[in-house]
């Protein structure tokens, strides 16, 4: 599939995601945050992790107001798959494409570790690496109920890690095509990386 990889100043997992997509047989293409692109050019999009704009003000806050987000929204509205990983997840929340917000970890520290995740629907267990300072998922009570009712909780941590509501690690939008996830699937797709649960994890 032709998959766009969006880059902002400060994005640092872009090359990793590119390789992950390429090794799985897709045709990734970089897009710079100041450039709009036609949604016809891509069949899917990834917003990789990193520290866009240094995470200044709030993680993903400045990036979410970048010109390219118009193209991202267009792709999302067409029902095509859009994946936000870590900082990408934060940007999608700030841009209103996903519900909730990511705030500083309850422990007040950046955490780098492996995390076990559970799918609420299939009960599948996987392991993916996490590396984030602002990974605590927050959502208001009324919206939290809707999230569950509408099957929008994608993955949960099996252990309390960063204070996320319901230990939520990833969510989707209502139609299910836009997804956000704090852990990094692109960091676990070959044996020597320590795990392969990132292989064919998304599409």
């Amino acid at each position: 599939m032709k998959i766009g990889v969006v880059r902002f100043p400060g994005t640092n997992c872009d090359r990793d995601v590119y390789k992950w997509l390429q090794d799985q047989g897709h045709q990734p293409q970089f897009y710079w945050h100041e450039d709009l692109f036609s949604s016809q050019e891509v069949e899917a999009l990834v917003l990789p992790g990193g520290f866009s704009f240094g995470d200044y003000l709030r993680s993903g806050a400045v990036a979410a107001r970048s010109p390219i987000m118009n193209s991202v929204k267009e792709v999302a509205n067409q029902g095509k798959p859009v994946l936000g990983i870590c900082n990408g997840f934060q940007i999608l929340c700030e841009a209103g494409l996903l519900p909730g917000a990511l705030i500083p970890n309850s422990g007040g520290e950046f955490i780098d570790d492996w995390a076990e995740l559970k799918s609420p629907s299939t009960k599948q267990l996987i392991q993916l690496p996490i590396a984030h300072g602002d990974g605590r998922y927050f959502i208001h009570e009324e919206d939290r109920k809707k999230l569950w009712d509408q099957n929008q909780v994608w993955w949960q941590y099996t252990q309390m890690l960063n204070g996320s509501v319901d230990q939520i690690a990833g969510v989707t939008n209502l139609s299910g095509n836009v997804r956000g996830l704090m852990p990094h699937p692109e960091r676990a797709y070959q044996d020597w990386m320590g795990g392969i649960d990132g292989w064919k994890f998304w599409i």
């Binding site: 704009f53 240094g54 200044y56 003000l57 400045v62 107001r65």
Partner: protein
Amino acid sequence: MKTWFIRILPRAEVLDVQGRTVLQMLNHNQLPFSNVRVGKLIELTADQEISNPEAVLKKALALGLYNPLVEVAVIE
């Protein structure tokens, strides 16, 4: 009940990396600001009356609410 605020900002000569990036973003969107400093506001509340609040707040500051090397704190 009484509430006080302490405004903490990076010292003027110290590079504020957040302010710099926010300023660029605002200017990029044609907003005519020339400087931005990003800091924090600390809100302190006491149930009882405090006789000499300024001295007490200074004590609170001395406990590390701000880093005097790189920040300036103003009691409001």
